[in-house]
């Protein structure tokens, strides 16, 4: 409920509070959904990275379930980031897609974590599945700092980071709207994550019950 309210307030701020951009006009308002979803996707994969490390260290099934849940949501949000970025690219760059460093590394991130989800569905033995997935979850995260730095390391069409050390290159009203939307989409992510982990936990309980029942019979 809080997440929904925050998204609605974020929409109000994006369309009625933040001013139109001097160069791009109103189409720049796509930034208030594109940048927050991109940052939340990075955060989702950071959760996968940390949970995977915890799993390999402590062998906690809860950490594996958290990584799985976060990866699934991260894949959805990364795909949406690429889609809304592409829609923003058409009126500003004149193309839906270009093999630019930022776009390409983000597409690679999506492929890595789709692979992570596929791996989980291919391996049946739970302990082996969790161990292999944790390795992919950790190694795959290397792409996140590369994506962030890609606009500084390579010649690219993409604008430099909107938020960086030393301040943002935008008016305060735009910055506030951007940060508020980031909080709103982080709340949406947190809501999905809690529910997704609950589904996984219930599945495990159900499987245990079925196993016990089969053992009795």
């Amino acid at each position: 409920m809080l997440a929904l309210l925050a998204v609605l307030i974020g929409l109000y701020l994006a369309f009625f509070y933040a001013p139109a951009d001097a160069l791009q006009g109103n189409v720049q308002r796509i930034m208030y959904i594109h940048v927050p979803t991109a940052l939340v996707a990075f955060f989702a994969f950071f959760v996968v990275f940390v949970s995977s490390l915890v799993y390999l260290w402590k062998r906690l099934p809860e950490a594996d379930r958290l990584a799985y849940a976060s990866a699934e949501i991260g894949v959805l949000i990364t795909a949406l980031t690429l889609i809304d970025g592409s829609i923003w690219g058409k009126p500003t760059w004149g193309t839906w897609w270009t093999w630019d460093a930022r776009l390409t590394t983000t597409a690679i991130l999506l492929v890595i974590y789709v692979g992570y989800l596929m791996l989980r569905s291919f391996v049946e033995e739970p302990e082996r599945r969790a161990r292999l997935a944790a390795l992919v979850g950790i190694v795959g995260f290397i792409d996140v700092p590369i994506i962030y730095m890609s606009v500084l390391w390579f010649r690219t069409l993409h604008q430099p980071p909107s938020l960086q050390r030393g301040g943002a290159s935008m008016p305060e009203s735009m910055l506030f709207t951007l940060l508020f939307n980031f909080v709103a989409y982080t709340l949406v992510f947190a809501f999905f994550l809690v529910k997704r982990v609950r589904i996984e936990s219930l599945h495990v309980i159900a499987e245990t019950l079925v196993g016990e029942k089969a053992a009795h019979e």
Partner: protein, 49 residues
């Protein structure tokens, strides 16, 4: 497409997909809870009844 069209498409697709995922979630959670309550109800029912 006009600028407004791009804005509507970007917000519509992103928010629509998140809303659909939320609905899918909700139905999955309900189904799992139902399966579990069926299983636990069976556990509580004495054999032969």
């Amino acid at each position: 497409m006009s600028n407004l069209g791009y804005i509507i498409a970007a917000y519509g697709i992103t928010l629509g997909a998140l809303a659909l995922y939320g609905l899918y979630f909700w139905s999955r959670l309900r189904a799992t809870e139902q399966d579990l309550s069926t299983l636990t109800a069976r556990e509580r029912t004495p054999y032969g009844l």
